[in-house]
């Protein structure tokens, strides 16, 4: 083995010495011991590699990356068989609602709501009809809120207590005139759905308590929370909606 071959093989030799007993390097290392010039090159080369590794290992990692991975994976984790049954039940409920809901939706499209609210109801309608998919799915509303926060999409600072006790289905985000809007869908105990919409639309700040709008089968309640505007929507009465505020 000449020095050129030895250098070629030793290119794969790790600087911390993990490969010292690897037979692939034995002959090249023996050559190093025999040749002072090669030994000098090897010493410099190992120091160079250790320096590059150290500096490369010091390259900063985004501070929120770990949190995003953990939250994202929690939401994406495969469901167990027992939970899968629950998912089928939810899917069946959604299909059932889609049948009735889509008919009502096309005949009673709300007219007194702001543009982002109408768009939100369109998005909800599309989800219910299975024409679009959730961005994230989890039965835990907290996971979805965390996911939305991690992705810097407006969402409620604190979910209303009665809403927090429900199982969620999933969340969806969209953009309205440059403003990000989030929708979280929940399962109601009676089998229906209820949706929480959040955004930061300029000039949409609302004073006082929740403002109710009834439009066809849809009832919405809208209120401000800090710099955000929240809307709760369901297909039902204002009395039904009040239970979740």
């Amino acid at each position: 083995m000449d020095n050129r071959e030895a250098k070629f093989i030793l290119s794969a030799y790790r600087s911390a010495g993990q490969d010292a007993s690897d037979s692939h390097f034995a002959e090249a290392l023996e050559q190093v011991r025999r040749d002072p010039m090669l030994e000098q090159w090897f010493r410099e080369s190992v120091a160079f590699d250790a320096g590059v590794a150290e500096k490369f290992g010091a390259v900063e990692v985004p501070s929120d990356l770990r949190e995003k991975i953990l939250v994202g994976a929690k939401i994406s984790r495969p469901v167990h068989w027992s939970k899968r049954f629950g998912s089928w039940a939810i899917a069946a409920a959604i299909i059932l609602i889609a049948g009735v809901g889509s008919l009502i939706w096309h005949t009673t499209r709300p007219a007194r709501l702001a543009g982002w609210q109408m768009q939100a109801l369109n998005v909800i309608s599309s989800l219910v009809k299975n024409e679009s998919t959730f961005d994230a799915q989890s039965q835990s509303p907290r996971d979805l809120v965390e996911w939305l926060r991690a992705n810097k999409v407006p969402t409620a600072e604190k979910l209303p207590d009665h809403l927090n006790q429900l199982a969620s289905v999933g969340c969806k985000t969209f953009s309205w005139n440059g403003a990000q809007v989030s929708v979280i869908c929940f399962m109601r105990p009676d089998g229906g759905l209820i949706h929480l919409v959040a955004t930061k639309v300029a000039g949409e700040k609302r004073k006082g308590g929740a403002q109710f709008v009834q439009q066809g089968e849809w009832t919405t309640a809208t209120w401000s929370e800090g710099d955000k505007v929240l809307m709760l929507a369901l297909e039902g009465s204002a009395d039904q909606l009040r239970r979740y505020l």
């Binding site: 794969a12 410099e44 590059v52 590794a53 500096k55 490369f56 770990r66 991975i69 994976a73 984790r77």
Partner: protein, 180 residues
């Protein structure tokens, strides 16, 4: 994999995975996305890996494949002749202490595609030539060839920077001569 196990795996591997992704991709955002996507795939498919000691290798392989998949639509890999590094290219060793992390990362990113991935894995320190071969699905001989050539390219980048820094850096050779 249960929650705490997954969290431990993330804690151990997310930083090296991100750095590997960063050396391959065009931006920090793309690297973060690749890293997230890799763990997402682990969350949904990781249960298929029965030997948990292979988790690290699986993650790096998956990230690399994900990266290649995205690049496939942008540009085909250039077929570069994998000739062995010339003797003189391997002989000059720059003074690495003169460079900071950002410069090291930049130099790594300038190394041509087929050489960059094995080189980056090598400098993540935990990877042997055998593991690099497994992750990149290439023979051991090719790993050694690419490491040899890749290191030569990296050294050239550093030597070029040393010159552009105005020869203010004292080479190791001079240091050694001074101390006898």
């Amino acid at each position: 994999m249960r929650g705490p196990d997954f969290q431990q795996l993330v804690d151990r591997q997310y930083a090296p995975l991100f750095r590997f992704a960063l050396s391959l991709s065009k931006s920090e955002a793309e690297a973060a996305d690749l890293t997230q996507q890799t763990f997402f795939l682990w969350a949904s498919k990781g249960h298929q890996v029965r030997d948990r000691s292979k988790a690290k290798s699986w993650l790096f392989t998956t990230l690399y494949r994900e990266f290649l998949g995205r690049r496939r639509h942008e540009v085909r890999f250039q077929q570069i002749e994998l000739d062995e590094a010339r003797e003189e290219e391997m002989s000059i060793v720059p003074n690495i202490n003169a460079f900071d992390s950002a410069m090291v990362l930049q130099a790594l990113r300038e190394v041509e595609d087929p050489f960059r991935a094995p080189l980056t894995l090598f400098y993540l320190e935990q990877f042997s030539y055998q593991e690099i071969a497994d992750v990149l699905a290439i023979p051991i001989g090719t790993v050694m060839s690419r490491l040899s050539r890749g290191k030569a390219m990296l050294r050239q980048r550093f030597l070029l920077r040393e010159r552009t820094l105005g020869n203010k850096i004292v080479p190791l050779q001079s240091e050694r001569t001074k101390h006898g």
